[in-house]
């Protein structure tokens, strides 16, 4: 046991990681309809990289977000001659993000968040019972 009420911190790291994931999904969905000229980069799909926070041979200390991967900014070239950003061929560059995939990730991130809060509530109940010792 490394620190007082350590189990709560472990679940807290999980909540923070899920929150980061939800934030990246929100950013991805918000930028789905970005439009750029074909000679410029567009928004790349963000994905958090999770890593276990562990000391060897010890129970793990939770999870950390090692980095947020910014996917390919190449996007896809679409024809949209009415756009003011369209090039001579009438093409524009848009992000390569699908709403379906983002929604599935969002459900996963949400479930993850809930599981961590549930584990945190359990840890809290156990610690509270420990505080009754000897009373």
């Amino acid at each position: 046991m490394s620190d007082l009420f350590g189990n709560i911190n472990v679940s807290g790291s999980g909540i923070a990681a899920s929150q980061t994931w939800l934030n990246t999904i929100a950013g991805n969905i918000a930028n789905m309809d970005d439009v750029s000229p074909t000679d410029e980069a567009t928004y790349g799909e963000q994905t958090p990289i999770f890593e276990p926070d562990a000391a060897f041979g010890q129970p793990g200390q939770g999870v950390t977000v090692a980095a947020v991967d910014e996917g390919s900014t190449a996007g896809v070239v679409e024809s949209d001659p009415t756009s003011p950003l369209a090039d001579a061929q009438g093409d524009v560059r848009v992000p390569d993000i699908e709403l379906g995939g983002q929604m599935v990730n969002m459900i996963q991130a949400q479930t993850d968040y809930q599981a961590n809060t549930s584990a945190m509530a359990d840890a809290r109940t156990a610690y509270q019972s420990a505080l009754t010792l000897g009373t």
Binding site: S11, F50, P52, P59, G62, V63, A119, D122, L133, G134
Partner: protein, 114 residues
């Protein structure tokens, strides 16, 4: 510390470690290539209690043998959530048993049994 209080103390610490492992597994339920942790102390504690003349119990942290998904992660969220509930109740039971022991000591020493 030996005797029933020592056993309960060890078991309570052990369950707390199991809770931490469960919390850690849940926190890492989306980490690629993560292997779930499995903390066991019950087998060792039982052997120590059964041993003639007393024994020493220990706690082991090992990998969970559950099958892994395509991303190399083998955390089963539902199993872990069930474990979390079980461990919480086990912890509370241990604490209650410890308190019962303390009440007995208090009563035997001339104080109140309740």
């Amino acid at each position: 510390m030996d005797g029933i209080i020592g056993v309960l103390q060890f078991a309570t610490d052990g369950v707390s470690q199991q809770q931490q492992a469960t919390a850690n597994n849940l926190a890492n339920s989306e980490t690629p290539d993560f292997t779930a942790e499995d903390v066991n102390f019950q087998t060792s504690l039982r052997q120590a209690i059964d041993a003639a003349g007393g024994g020493t119990a220990s706690l082991t942290v090992g990998p969970d043998p559950a099958p892994m998904a395509t991303d190399g992660n083998n955390v089963d969220t539902s199993t872990q959530l069930v474990d979390a509930q079980e461990e919480m109740l086990q912890y509370q039971t241990n604490v209650e048993m410890l308190n019962a022991q303390f009440r007995l000591i208090s009563g035997a020493a001339g104080g109140s049994f309740s």
